[in-house]
């Protein structure tokens, strides 16, 4: 938060209202793109070519969708999948490593006994199982590669103009060190991440954000951070380099989207441990089966045992696990969010408290004038006219909204400053908290109640008795009253009050209801006084609010929630947000924010759209659900495979076991082969699901569990019975078998 917000806290409620005009709450930094929430950019160069990008922060489009899955990607990624057969790579996934060993083993056995079609078939399908698993990962990674390539283009080898004393020297961008000062002028590509220490410039950041409108970067304050690879469009700035070459934001982005920096997340590691232990259990079950079988005089070939093992170990989830993780990160990247760690994505699913900044997230960027209220003895039209006139010199969004309201509601044509000759304009400043005009012997002013009252009294006028009552009424309703006053032949007097109001975004209440059903508490953070905050909180339907919030208050709130075991997510952009961003479990820094904020957070939103926090939570949840669903499915699959393979192995010696062949599979060979083929094909069949994520709809845990258990648990039990039967039918149609 900025110092402006602090002022709000230090001054008295209603009188200080116009202070908030100058305070820039996070998310309303004055860059143009926030004025129209919902206008998320499309067709950006940093994105993968998926055309189903979600509607961003439009509430009704809140469902997390995923990227499209194009079967062509499978073909394209095939060479990468083969490369991944390297045992040193495979060993990272214990389940698939076992399959690879099985593939090698069966191949060796098939070579030894080349006449055995069954051995060759099993060997081939085991290899395919391994490759399919690699393919899933390769496809997931491939989607990131396209993005990385575009980013690399932005990171051309720039030449930096380093300041040395008062002279400049030309050094390669890679030769810069932290603390170096470099000069950038219009047309220059900024050579590294840093803070502007001198000057103001407009910068084209489209290489990173995909947003083509230039942004202003200036020294001091919260808009000083610049990113290497972006381009200065106008003016000249001096930049102090804050990161080492190779560790810049764009480097990290490339690593992230490529998956090179991907580390297994805690839950993924835990799941891997469980899968490994299940693999060991089934390995034991299969290895020990041979002595049992020998006793039963039904010794099994190694090929059959390998086939059984591969069918039993959780290959489906083992194959798709890393693809699910990569795709989860990718879904964030598609929404222009960069997660600096996978841990943060998982934490997002666990978040139980969301700290949402009021401005930009819950309400539209700024307060807007909603009505003109005259004091006794004046008319609304008079107030509207004076309000419009006095606001022409007020370029703040609030000031603009007064002009707009006057035009829309009272049909007052917008006058331009140039139209009025001899007019003396009084521009709005944070100090005077007033704006106005002196024209034709008439002085019109509008501004914060305190300032206007003081002005009227200074001019020897009197304040209407009911003005106080009117401002109080507006304050109590959560609005911000501005007074309109005039001094003319009749003396100085207050004409009326302008009601400035926060406009809650459409659909937010429903959104918060959904979050509540998911067990997530929403806390609105605002610099407003408690009265105003309460009114907006009620209107928006958030669970709680923090009024007159300072960064310290925010920090304290986070710590309090965390002490109760809750995970907290927040957004922020200012340098003084940095400690809170670091403390939060999910800290989303706005890309427009300072480099300190970006360092502190574990995610960066390139669109700088605070509403996205909600989507991030949903993506985190979807990632975990997908992982759980496929694990459940994978384990449930085993039941059917037993019914296929066990009778095939032992019905010869114990004919009674043929009663377990409830699918009435054609022959022992076709039964085993069908199980192996099903096991391989199900991986490919589930790749789109792993990449897109399972359908996710915010609802209570109970309903979600019931639904997913039904689909993936019961489905996992039943599907392989059908699948294996069909494959067996097809195999039995092959002549000669």
């Amino acid at each position: 938060m900025t110092t402006g917000t602090k002022n709000t806290k230090n001054t008295q409620n209603a009188k200080s209202t116009q202070d908030s005009k100058t305070s820039r709450e996070p998310g309303s930094l004055g860059t143009k793109k926030h004025e129209e929430p919902g206008s998320m950019s499309t067709a950006t160069p940093t994105r993968a070519p998926h055309d189903d990008l979600p509607g961003g922060h439009k509430p009704e489009a809140g469902r997390v969708g995923g990227g499209m899955f194009d079967p062509k990607q499978l073909v394209k990624s095939f060479p990468d999948a083969v490369k991944k057969l390297d045992p040193r790579v495979m060993v990272k996934s214990p389940v698939m490593f076992v399959v690879e060993i099985g593939s090698v083993l069966t191949t060796v056995l098939a070579v030894k006994n080349p006449g055995d079609w069954f051995g060759w078939a099993i060997a081939a399908w085991l290899w395919l199982t391994t490759i399919f698993a690699n393919l899933a990962e390769a496809v997931a990674e491939g989607r990131g590669k396209a993005q990385a390539d575009t980013l690399r283009k932005a990171k051309t080898d720039t030449v930096a103009r380093r300041l040395k004393g008062s002279s400049e020297e030309q050094v390669p961008g890679t030769g810069l060190r932290i603390g170096d000062l470099v000069v950038c002028e219009a047309g220059d590509v900024i050579p590294g991440d840093g803070d502007v220490v001198e000057g103001v410039a407009s910068v084209d950041e489209s290489a990173i954000t995909g947003e083509s409108a230039p942004v202003i970067r200036e020294s001091g304050g919260d808009r000083s951070a610049v990113t290497g690879g972006t381009k200065v469009l106008s003016d000249r700035v001096v930049i102090k380099i804050t990161t080492k070459p190779g560790e810049t934001f764009i480097d990290r982005m490339i690593n992230l989207v490529e998956g090179a920096a991907r580390q297994k997340t805690p839950n993924e590691i835990a799941l891997n441990i469980l899968l490994a232990s299940l693999t060991i259990v089934f390995l034991l079950a299969v290895v020990t089966l041979q002595p049992f079988a020998m006793y039963a005089k039904a010794e099994q070939s190694m090929i059959v045992l390998a086939a059984l093992l591969v069918c039993l170990i959780p290959t489906t989830i083992g194959a798709l696990l890393s693809a699910i993780g990569i795709a989860g990160m990718d879904r964030l990247v598609q929404r222009n969010v960069l997660a600096m760690s996978g841990r943060a994505v998982e934490a997002a699913g666990d978040v139980s408290t969301l700290l949402l900044d009021k401005t930009g997230t819950i309400t539209l960027g700024n307060r807007q004038a909603s009505e003109f209220v005259p004091v006794r003895g004046t008319t609304e039209a008079e107030v509207a006219d004076a309000a419009q006139l006095s606001s022409l010199s007020d370029e703040t969004p609030e000031g603009r909204s007064i002009v707009v309201l006057a035009k829309e509601k009272y049909g007052l044509r917008e006058r331009h400053q140039g139209e009025l000759t001899g007019a003396e304009w009084v521009a709005f400043t944070a100090q005077t908290r007033m704006s106005g005009v002196d024209v034709d012997g008439r002085k019109v002013r509008k501004g914060a109640a305190g300032s206007v009252v003081a002005w009227v009294e200074e001019q020897g006028g009197s304040v209407a008795e009911d003005a106080r009552a009117l401002t109080d009424r507006i304050s109590e309703a959560g609005g911000t009253p501005l007074l309109v006053a005039v001094e003319d032949a009749d003396g100085a007097r207050v004409l009326g009050v302008i009601h400035l109001k926060d406009v809650v975004k459409e659909g937010m209440r429903e959104r918060f209801d959904e979050l509540r059903r998911m067990g997530i508490k929403t806390v609105m953070i605002t610099g407003d006084n408690p009265l105003t905050a309460k009114a907006i909180a009620e209107e928006a339907g958030v669970d709680d609010f923090l009024a007159e919030a300072t960064p310290e208050d925010k920090m304290a709130l986070i710590k309090r929630e965390q002490a109760g075991g809750k995970l907290v997510a927040m957004t922020g952009d200012g340098t003084n947000d940095a400690p809170a961003l670091a403390q939060a479990d999910v800290g989303v820094a706005m890309n427009t924010g300072t480099s300190a904020a970006k360092e502190a957070g574990n995610m960066v939103d390139l669109d700088s759209n605070p509403t996205k926090l909600i989507e991030i939570v949903e993506i985190g949840k979807q990632l975990l659900i997908t992982r759980g669903a496929l694990t459940t499915f994978s384990i449930a699959n085993d039941v059917a495979k037993y019914f296929a393979i066990i009778p095939a192995m032992f019905a010869v010696v114990y004919p009674g076991l043929d009663k377990l062949n409830i699918m009435s599979l054609h022959s022992p060979e076709s039964a085993i082969l069908a199980a192996v083929i099903f096991n391989a094909l199900i991986i490919i069949a589930l790749v789109p699901l792993a990449l897109k994520g399972v359908r996710y709809k915010p609802t209570s845990a109970d309903r979600m569990l019931r639904r997913n258990l039904g689909i993936y648990g019961l489905g996992g039990l039943i599907a392989p019975f059908i699948g294996i039967k069909i494959i067996d039918l097809l195999i039995s149609l092959i002549p000669g078998l």
Binding site: N267, L271, T288, G519, L657, L705
Partner: protein
């Protein structure tokens, strides 16, 4: 009344009795393990063993207590048997050979009570009452102590302290097992079980020849044998012997004793974690499996076709006429779903499926309701696995009772579920690969394999019942089953306590609408499914070659 109806009514009566005992006993046990007070007799014991019952222990200390106590117990029991020949009151029995003494010592300390000897022909009063019966108490108390430590792990936060092992051990014995055993023994004596220290009587048989009847403190040992889910009989015939289990009522009463603590511990668990509903969910899971297994057992035993079976009204081979098919089925399921292993019928003579049901019951890990203590911690581990696999499907990283199931927790749980399958399968495989095994088998084919599979299943899961037919009194079987029992008992305890320590250190996660409800029927269904799939699938191939092959053949 038809035998089927009688069986069902017996089962219903048993369920009602267990239901009546559930709340008072569960609440009482929760108070016992939460109380700050020490009874006078307990203070004497603490003084005698030099333990401070108020010191809080972290998991390594707690584990050291468990292991040290058990090690001393094994040594003590081993020496007692080795020296039996020189001890007074031994009825003239000689000292036990080393391998069998090791096996028996391991067996009783591990709460298994696998017996490769015939009680009445091997063990005198001193060993039976002074050694074996004592272990029947304390080995059960150790099990409950470990379970309570795990429950404390869930209940406590930001500590790592799990209570005091010595206090838990002593209290469990003095305040829970002893009083109930005394009542149980009196009931059994009243119903005809014997309780004396008389010697061996030669008795003539009706059809000529002679028979020896042993006296002994049978009823007292019988009560704790069932109550502590031990199962080691005074006589070789175990609970099929009329001195141990005289009639249909005592049969049902013994089943009641077997099940009452393991079921009631779920209440204790609920009380201690502050939500009895959580305990009900675990209870419901156990009951579902127990009722299902009993129903299947009755079905297969009553249903068994063929002229001889039709005449007898079902598969009567190996069953006592006093108990019939119903009573025997109830007993067989209860004894194998717990770590008891007492038998009132010969499991080897059950139908193929019936034998399979007893084996599967043990292979599930004996968790429905399982052994005293071990059943609860086994089921809680399965709950953790279930929460971990399916809990992700609500879109949060898994948590159970407000504790995150992270890498550390799942590592311990995964190791836990590895231990017994590894022991059962590896030892069975080695045994089957050894030519000498064939000479120990009474049967060939699938049934012969079942004998060996059953032996290691029973040993590693600390059940102790035997599929009669296997001559297990050989150095190999004595040693390997002894090892399986010790490892199957204490290695999982290491993981349980480590897990408990890890859970106790956590800050609890508050429950929200987004939290997976673990106190709902849906979770119970999920847990039943997880138990059946994760534990059941491990043994499917082995079961297919034994009981399934046999059962499906007819």
């Amino acid at each position: 009344m038809s035998p089927v109806v009688a069986g069902v009514l017996q089962f219903a009566a048993l369920a009602v009795a267990l239901g009546l005992a559930y709340r008072p006993l569960g609440d009482y046990m929760a108070r016992v393990y939460s109380s700050d007070k020490h009874l006078r007799v307990e203070k004497w014991i603490y003084k005698a063993i030099g333990a401070n019952p108020t010191t809080e222990m972290r998991w390594p200390a707690y584990l050291r207590g468990v292991l040290a106590f058990s090690l001393v117990s094994v040594l003590f029991l081993y020496l007692m048997q080795r020296l039996q020949g020189s001890l007074p009151g031994s009825l003239g029995f000689v000292s036990i050979p080393a391998d069998q003494a090791f096996n028996t010592a391991a067996s009783f300390v591990a709460n298994t009570n696998w017996q490769s000897y015939s009680g009445e022909q091997t063990m005198g009063h001193v060993v039976q009452t002074g050694g074996l019966a004592v272990q029947n108490f304390v080995s059960a108390a150790v099990g409950v102590a470990v379970a309570v430590a795990l429950v404390r792990g869930f209940a406590r936060s930001r500590t790592g302290e799990l209570g005091n092992f010595w206090a838990d051990l002593v209290r469990g014995t003095v305040r829970i097992l002893l009083p109930i055993s005394v009542i149980g023994a009196i009931v059994l004596v009243a119903c005809g079980a014997i309780q004396n220290f008389s010697g061996i009587h030669g008795v003539g048989q009706f059809l000529g020849g002679s028979q020896q009847w042993n006296g002994g403190a049978v009823a007292s040992q019988e009560a704790i044998k069932e109550l502590g889910t031990n199962g080691g009989g005074y006589f070789n015939a175990n609970s099929a012997h009329p001195f141990e289990n005289p009639n249909g009522f005592t049969n049902l009463f013994e089943v009641f004793l077997i099940l009452v603590i393991p079921f009631a511990l779920t209440r204790t668990f609920g009380r201690m974690v502050g939500s009895v509903k959580q305990g009900y969910a675990i209870l419901a899971t156990m009951v579902t499996i127990w009722v299902g297994f009993t129903a299947l057992m009755m079905w297969t035993e009553f249903h068994h076709g063929g002229p001889a079976f039709d005449l007898a009204g079902g598969a009567m081979e190996g069953k006592e006429n006093r108990f019939g098919i119903g009573g025997s089925s109830i007993f067989a399921v209860a004894t194998t779903l717990t770590s008891t292993g007492a038998v009132d019928a010969f499991h080897s003579s059950l139908t193929g499926f019936g034998g399979g049901i007893t084996m599967l019951g043990m292979q599930l890990g004996e968790i429905a309701p399982g052994g005293t203590g071990s059943g609860l911690y086994g089921m809680l581990i399965m709950a953790i696995i279930a929460v971990f696999i399916a809990g992700l499907m609500v879109g949060r990283t898994p948590e159970y009772l407000g504790k995150k199931i992270g890498t550390r927790e799942i590592k311990f749980a995964a190791c836990y579920i590895l231990v017994t399958p590894a022991l059962v399968l590896i030892f069975t495989a080695i045994a089957m690969a050894m030519p000498s095994t064939l000479t120990s088998l009474t049967n060939s084919g699938a049934h012969g394999f079942s004998e060996v599979l059953y032996a290691y299943t029973s040993g590693a899961n600390n059940n102790g019942s035997a599929f009669a037919g296997l001559n297990a009194n050989t150095p190999w079987f004595n040693t390997s089953i002894g090892l399986a029992m010790l490892l199957g008992r204490f290695v999982p305890m290491v993981f349980v306590l480590a897990l408990a320590g890890s859970l106790a250190e956590q800050t609890p996660v508050p429950e929200t609408a987004g939290t997976l409800r673990t106190n709902k029927p849906l979770f119970t269904g999920l847990l039943v499914g997880t138990v059946m799939i994760v534990a059941g699938l491990t043994y499917f191939p082995a079961l297919a070659l034994g009981p399934l092959a046999e059962g499906l053949a007819s």
